[in-house]
């Protein structure tokens, strides 16, 4: 009974397998049987090419992404991302939960900006159930959402520098992000997965602690963010490594269904806050920064520009916010009449969308979650071939995918 399960080497189990055979198997690249045209093309090695498996445990794959690189020396010939290491089947889980419960399943999808992950389904459900959201709740949503956007962009800048080999910026941006997370924790009660937006409003009014922290932070945020970026924007090495890397033009970006900062860095001023206004964004004054270059540097700098616009929005929200309730009267158990609804919000990475189908019961019949990271990760195989391994990181980091969102 006390004997422990011991797994010896396979060759010891089966005397017909010699160590040599095991070695030979591991010498030759294990090439799967091609299932599709693309896979057959990818796994056919040309002269001098080799496959390099990167991930799922690799320092710079932003979680558990696995990519197979086809290399010629250090030059990337082709790249095939392999997903699913973080797949949790959130859509199925949502179908097995009721309408309120479904929101908290979407929350951890993109743990870096989770308010947006709940905003899209909440909006979709409100459309399905014909709920009118109080204006104060809408302002609070915009306020907290923009705060979360800044927090997400701050983290992006740190990650970007880290993937290019800089150690310090990531920790500085975590300090910055931590302040915002503390504020949001003061109002939502949680520090990472807020679960704050509800069908018909938000979970509670903003409180004094939040306001005092926010006022304190707003008074120095601009200067502090500028100072942090000074470490990177004027860094010759970073600029030289990011400029001209992974150039994405506007036309291709549209065809790749890219949204968010990534498409705006390619010169397309598409922002759902303006292109298809929702919430109280029509009443707020802000610009949509764009850049024409479409390279990694542009994608990086564009997010810095967006942070400034978000600060403007927060400022206006604080001044324009009306008094009133923050929650419409919504029953605990809702049964929306059968129908379909789609809602999309502009998150820090692009368009977060939810497509919900109601069959009249208390559970979603189908709930589709659209995550921008998933779409943007496709760009890796478009932009990296022809560059070096190191540039793969510069490009992937500039697209800012979060594996929680990619793998749903």
């Amino acid at each position: 009974m006390t004997e422990r399960a011991h797994r010896p080497h396979p060759s010891l189990d089966d005397p017909s397998i010699a160590i040599e055979d095991v070695l030979r198997e591991s010498i030759v690249d294990a090439v799967p049987v091609a299932r599709t045209e693309r896979e057959a093309e990818f796994y056919t090695l040309g002269d001098g090419e080799m496959l390099l498996n990167m991930g799922p445990q690799h320092p710079s794959t932003h979680g558990v992404l696995r990519v197979v690189l086809k290399l010629d020396g250090e030059r990337v010939v082709d790249i095939d991302p392999v997903l699913g290491y973080l797949h949790r089947g959130v859509e199925k889980l949502c179908e097995n939960a009721d309408w309120h419960q479904a929101i908290c399943y979407t929350d951890p999808l993109e743990y870096v900006a989770s308010l947006f992950c709940e905003w899209a389904p909440v909006m979709a459900f409100e459309k399905l159930a014909d709920v009118e959201v109080p204006r104060r709740a809408e302002y609070i949503r915009v306020l907290t959402g923009e705060l979360n956007r800044i927090a997400s962009h701050a983290l992006f800048m740190g990650w970007f520098a880290l993937d290019l080999g800089g150690l310090t910026p990531i920790l500085w941006s975590f300090i910055e992000r931590d302040e915002m997370m503390d504020m949001l924790a003061a109002v939502t009660g949680q520090k990472l997965l807020f679960n704050y937006f509800r069908i018909g409003g938000v979970n509670g009014d903003i409180n004094h602690e939040f306001m005092s922290r926010l006022g304190d932070w707003m008074s120095r945020a601009g200067a502090q963010i500028e100072a942090n970026q000074g470490l990177l924007n004027e860094n010759e090495i970073l600029v030289r490594r990011a400029r001209g890397m992974g150039v994405l033009d506007g036309e291709t970006a549209m065809r790749m269904a890219v949204t968010g900062p990534n498409i705006r860095a390619s010169g397309v001023p598409f922002d759902i806050r303006r292109a298809h206004p929702y919430s109280v964004y029509p009443e707020l004054e802000f610009d949509i920064p764009t850049r024409q270059e479409g390279d990694s540097l542009a994608r990086y700098l564009l997010r810095a520009d967006e942070v400034k616009q978000s600060l403007r929005i927060i400022d206006q929200c604080l001044h324009q916010m009306p008094d009133g309730p923050v929650m419409a009267s919504v029953p605990r158990l809702i049964r929306p009449r059968p129908g379909r609804a789609w809602a999309a919000v502009e998150g820090p990475r692009g368009m977060y969308g939810t497509y919900a189908i109601s069959d009249g019961t208390d559970q979603p019949f189908r709930m589709r979650i659209h995550d921008p990271s998933f779409v943007h990760l496709q760009l890796v195989s478009l932009l990296t071939p022809g560059n070096l391994i190191a540039d793969t990181m510069a490009i992937m980091a500039s697209l800012d995918p979060v594996m929680g969102g990619v793998d749903k």
């Binding site: 390099l52 320092p59 080999g165 150690l167 310090t168 090495i237 490594r241 391994i389 190191a390």
Partner: protein, 445 residues
């Protein structure tokens, strides 16, 4: 018989230890004295006749031993300084201010399983870290630490240095190949390409210094720079100084040129498959290299162990205890007690501290003062102590500089790295040689 047993059983633990240790120590002492009496004259004669040989053996032993604290200090600096730059605290649990952290790192490596993955070329895999370590440790041999304190004063010291630097590449390449891992292979190839490329500007940048000093011996070079800060070669060879720093960083595989172990790209490069003490050797060699490059910068361009201003020392402070008489000696013996009491007095007078605590504080303070006095005396009257001080002070400034770079710069790309070496550093180094040679010819005419 029973008496002895009963007596033994009555002793407590300390007593038992003493009961064993004291006779053994006495016996050992007697044996030592006997051996010294019998063999002493021969030993003295042997030492006297073979000073160069013994000096060489002692130097090699000292060099091997010296690398360990050096690596520990550099690792600790790296941990703590980068932590401060990241607005973190860094290690603060093991030892005062975390100073023992790097020692614990070393113990951790020793206690880890010596693991070799399936498919590695075991012999090459095992030798590789040794080659790397030997390559970096052997460079210590020719570095002049202080007047008279050097392993070997070679007349081809500069060549020897670069030869040993070249040995490191062999080890990295062997590690990369033997690991049976594509990341390791890429790391090994990167390191070979990088270090072979940067060795050329590194060597050429020193030609100017060699021309000025007229020798390739490191010790002679330092002597040629002695005097004040104005005599250092950094003023006559500013371009070579810059080239040497940049190429030295690349040669030591430090950020921003740490492509061989770029963890965001190729995990850990050549060291991916290594663990335990084999990895520890790489780790050690890397940090020893950081110190060696700093020491070389100081030796070649910043006057080595010479002081930055016209140093009036060594001042001969005549201390001859035998001439002081018995009264003075008794006074010296009483000094610790008196000093402790005097230093404890102010604390004792303060009401919040107990007598015992005050005494302990006084004792510690007295020790600090006494050690400080002894070191101060050594500093002003022994030239090798002040030489060591200046040498390490200057070297650690550059170690700090390297750590600072690591904390603030992203990594360059492999083609930028190579392009920089061949397109900028190499022509600059050649230009430097040309200008230096021309200047020497003009001045001497």
């Amino acid at each position: 018989m029973s008496m002895a047993v009963v007596t033994w059983q009555r002793l407590n633990v300390v007593g038992k230890i003493l009961a064993i240790a004291v006779p053994v120590l006495i016996a050992l002492g007697l044996v030592t004295v006997g051996v010294a009496i019998l063999a002493g004259p021969f030993a003295i004669e042997f030492v006297g006749d073979n000073v160069p040989l013994l000096r060489f053996v002692a130097a090699i032993g000292a060099v091997l031993l010296l690398t360990i604290p050096t690596a520990f200090v550099v690792i600790f600096m790296e941990l703590k300084v980068i932590a401060r730059m990241n607005l973190r605290v860094g290690p603060d649990r093991v030892g005062p201010y975390g100073t023992a952290m790097s020692v614990v790192h070393g113990l951790k490596f020793l206690s880890k399983e010596d693991f070799a993955p399936l498919g590695v070329d075991l012999q090459v895999f095992t030798i590789a870290p040794v080659v790397v370590f030997v390559g970096s440790v052997m460079t210590f041999l020719v570095i002049p630490f202080a007047p008279g304190l050097f392993g070997l004063d070679m007349n081809v010291g500069v060549l020897y240095l670069f030869a040993m630097g070249g040995l490191t590449v062999v080890g990295l390449l062997m590690a990369g190949w033997a690991s049976f891992n594509k990341y390791s292979l890429l790391g090994g190839l990167r390191s070979a390409a990088q270090m072979v490329s940067y060795e050329i500007p590194l060597t050429l940048s020193l030609v100017g210094v060699v021309l000025l000093a007229g020798t390739m011996s490191l010790n002679q070079m330092v002597l040629a720079q002695s005097g004040s800060i104005a005599d250092w070669y950094v003023w006559q060879q500013p371009l070579a100084f810059v080239i040497f720093i940049i190429a030295g960083i690349a040669e030591a595989n430090r950020s921003p040129f740490d492509l061989t172990e770029a963890d965001q790209e190729i995990v850990a490069g050549f060291a991916t498959e290594y663990s335990g003490m084999r990895f520890g050797f790489f780790f050690f060699a890397e940090y020893v290299n950081v110190f060696v490059v700093s020491a070389l910068i100081v030796t070649f361009f910043l006057g080595g162990w010479t002081a930055p201003f016209d140093w009036p020392f060594p001042v001969a402070v005549a201390i001859d205890p035998l001439a002081w008489g018995v009264g003075s000696l008794v006074a010296i013996l009483a000094l610790p007690v008196v000093g402790t009491l005097v230093l404890a007095a102010p604390f004792w007078l303060s009401s919040r501290i107990t007598t015992l605590q005050a005494l302990v504080i006084g004792f510690i303070l007295f020790n600090v003062v006494a050690i400080g006095l002894v070191l101060g005396w050594a500093f002003v009257s022994l030239d090798w102590v002040s030489g060591l001080f200046w040498f390490f002070a200057k070297s650690y400034v550059f170690v700090f500089f390297f750590v600072w770079l690591r904390g603030s710069l992203p990594r360059v790309r492999i083609d930028q790295l190579m392009g920089f070496a061949w397109k900028w550093l190499l022509p600059a180094a050649l230009l430097n040689i040309f200008v230096t040679a021309a200047a020497i010819v003009i001045v001497n005419r």
